[in-house]
């Protein structure tokens, strides 16, 4: 008869399970604190002073955003440039921009966007990814989507599409009419513009490479 060994003792394994779980949980919580600090939203002062935040403040809608190769990090990152008009203005205050973003984020949930589209790559796969949709050349000055809606700016074209999606089919698979109002559409476009400024570690890769429009170089 063998001696009782520690390896075949249930209490040993029970304690191991508790320790391993506890250790992993503590590590996760610690990392959560660090990550939370890094992904907290920036503010208007950060943007004015050129402080780079992983998630910029809502007034980023006052600025031009591009997606460019960062040779040091080895992938594309969003770059916030000079002022750019958004629905005719580039002086949204922190409150105004925050309210638009709030409306847009609520709208993205109230209309179940994520059950057809992906946002930051998460969601359903029935419709295009929206992570960098603001930067999509199709919505740009020479883009087919802007031309289709007959508008002159990205934001107006996107807002028009969102309000009357089934008038502008781009594929046999169409977006349904979700009863999006003009104000909600404005909020949603602000939400999309803000999302395109989030540093996603180079996802999606090669965005718009063939169309050559965005980072291009």
């Amino acid at each position: 008869m063998a001696n009782k060994s520690v390896w075949s003792d249930n209490r040993f394994w029970q304690r191991s399970a508790a320790w391993v779980t506890g250790f992993a949980s503590v590590l996760l919580i610690w990392l959560t604190f660090d990550t939370s600090a890094q992904i907290s939203m920036g503010n208007d002062a950060d943007l004015k002073n050129g402080v780079t935040k992983r998630v910029p403040g809502p007034t980023v809608i006052n600025y031009k955003i591009t997606y460019e190769m960062d040779t040091k990090r080895g992938h594309e990152v969003p770059v916030i440039g000079g002022k750019e008009k958004f629905f005719g203005r580039d002086d949204y205050s922190e409150e105004e921009a925050g309210a638009l973003l709030h409306l847009g984020k609520l709208g993205s949930q109230a209309k179940n966007c994520m059950d057809c589209h992906t946002l930051l790559g998460n969601g359903a796969y029935y419709a295009p990814d929206l992570t960098k949709s603001w930067l999509d050349p199709a919505w740009g000055p020479e883009g087919s989507l802007q031309a289709m809606t007959g508008k002159n700016t990205r934001e107006e074209a996107m807002a028009e599409f969102l309000q009357h999606p089934s008038q502008y089919p781009t594929h046999e698979r169409m977006m349904p009419n979700l009863g999006i109002t003009a104000e909600e559409a404005k909020g949603l476009v602000a939400f999309l513009k803000h999302m395109s400024s989030i540093d996603t570690n180079g996802f999606p890769r090669n965005f718009g490479k063939i169309q050559g429009a965005v980072h291009g170089k």
């Binding site: 779980t21 939203m41 998630v55 609520l106 359903a124 169409m174």
Partner: protein, 474 residues
């Protein structure tokens, strides 16, 4: 299900849970078929039940039927494990009706109201619009109350009766499972923060607490169906808990590659998700080992009969061990390293993995538990396979595997065309979707979905009729 053989109220309640779960399973498959048809014929039910609505119902029914079947499984095994009747069973029964009624209301609102204006009332009463946990806020609170009641019953019973290793694991696991739901109950304008906590619910459910739950149920099944030695089985269970939580909790890193979170998650995610298949391999050996060992002992005593006292349930349990490894393990490992995930993230690859993993890791073992419920309700000593049970398992399995293969091919096209070559724009997306390989893969997915549904019909037929089949030993 006839309950005349059940003396335990806990087991009766379990059969209610199983029954409602089976109904929701049917709903899941039906709405899955609607969504699959829409990929092939986009005009189907357009602006009536759009893809988004069909998909919400498809994935919400999935989550809810599994939760129902999990609660049912716990109520089923509690009297066996603890040796006493479940404490607070009256409250348990009341909570069942509250839960079921709430689900019906939520589903009706999804179907009939669908979307709301962009304000808080929509979040509270119509939809939260967050994948898998779309249920509106009022329902969240309902779910918390029901879960608390369930966890309370489990704890009181476990502390009053015999607290076996299996019960201890379930107690710890179920409280984590319920508590994590709270991480998904708040609203924020910051989508990165939103996604960060959303994964706490989704990942820590399906890749940690649910997996541990499956380990505990598998342990119970091996003891009751095979007569495996409790000491060995429980030791395995503790090892599996260590491995599952040890790799699974930080395996969360693989969801934090691209949502705005820092780059150090690449290394953490890559390392721990490379470890994630190991416990699944261990669970696989566990079943093989116990089966071989008990059958070997039986044969050594000169009795050349099978040690398994519930063939259909055991078939589903073995499928679970295999499917968990294949679906969660292989299909997960396919696209988990950041170098490749950059291209596969958010494509049909994820969908392929989701189908095989939910089926392999969870649907299989929960269907197995339903069979144990039928065995107990009808007082059957040795339960055998029927024609319908064999048809069910074959059709459902080949259907799901077929869907998975089709979706993998579709995902491969997306990776090459929409991602690697064209870089995820609107045009890139639709170029990928229009490719011949993609559209054909979607045709096959629909066909395989229909095969799965046919298998489900056989399963229901078997559930309703096998109890009276004379071939079982009473």
């Amino acid at each position: 299900m006839a309950n005349n053989h059940l003396t335990s109220e806990s087991k009766q309640l379990a059969t209610w849970y199983f029954t409602f779960a089976a109904i929701l399973f049917g709903a899941q498959l039906l709405f899955g078929l609607v969504a699959a048809i829409q990929y092939v014929m986009p005009g189907f039910l357009f602006e009536i039940i759009d893809f988004s609505i069909a998909r919400i119902l498809h994935i919400n029914a999935l989550v809810v039927w599994m939760v129902f079947a999990m609660f049912g499984s716990v109520y089923w095994l509690l009297p066996d494990e603890t040796g006493i009747e479940t404490v607070g069973i009256k409250i348990g029964k009341l909570l069942f009706w509250i839960f079921a009624a709430a689900i019906v209301v939520v589903v009706l609102v999804y179907l009939l109201v669908q979307v709301g204006p962009a304000d808080e009332t929509t979040i509270w009463f119509i939809t939260e619009g967050r994948e898998y946990i779309e249920a509106p806020r009022w329902a969240d609170f309902g779910i918390v109350v029901v879960a608390l009641g369930f966890v309370g019953n489990l704890f009181l019973t476990g502390m009053k009766g015999k607290q076996t290793g299996i019960v201890t694991v379930l107690m710890a696991d179920m409280i984590a499972f319920s508590g994590l739901y709270l991480a998904g109950m708040f609203f924020t304008d910051n989508i990165s923060v939103d996604q960060y906590w959303w994964w706490w619910v989704i990942h820590l459910w399906v890749e940690a607490t649910w997996e541990v739950f499956v380990g505990a149920i598998a342990a119970y099944g091996l003891i009751t169906m095979l007569g495996a030695h409790r000491k060995t089985v429980e030791m395995w269970l503790w090892i599996e808990v260590s491995m599952l939580f040890g790799s699974g909790i930080l395996g969360m890193g693989h969801h934090y590659f691209w949502i705005g979170t820092p780059e150090y998650w690449w290394e953490i995610g890559a390392l721990f998700s490379a470890l994630e298949p190991l416990p699944l391999v261990a669970m696989f050996i566990h079943v093989l080992y116990d089966w071989g060992k008990t059958q070997g002992e039986q044969n050594a005593q000169g009795k050349d009969v099978s040690v398994i006292n519930n063939k259909p349930a055991f078939t589903w349990f073995v499928l679970n061990a295999f499917g968990n490894f294949l679906g969660a393990g292989i299909w997960g490992f396919f696209h988990t390293l950041p170098q490749v995930n950059l291209y596969t993230h958010g494509t049909q690859f994820t969908s392929a993995h989701g189908h095989l993993a939910f089926f392999g890791a969870y649907a299989t073992i929960l269907i197995g538990m339903m069979y144990m419920g039928i065995q107990g309700s009808n007082g059957i000593k040795v339960m055998k396979n029927t024609k319908a049970s064999i048809w069910a398992v074959s059709l459902i399995t080949s259907g799901v595997v077929g869907m998975t293969v089709s979706l993998t091919i579709a995902g491969y096209v997306q990776v090459l065309v929409s991602r690697a070559q064209m870089g995820a724009t609107w045009a890139a997306y639709f170029d990928g979707q229009s490719g011949m390989w993609f559209t054909q893969a979607m045709d096959w997915r629909l066909f395989m979905g229909a095969v799965t549904f046919a298998g489900f019909l056989f399963l229901i037929k078997d559930f309703l009729s096998t109890g009276k089949d004379a071939q079982h030993e009473h």
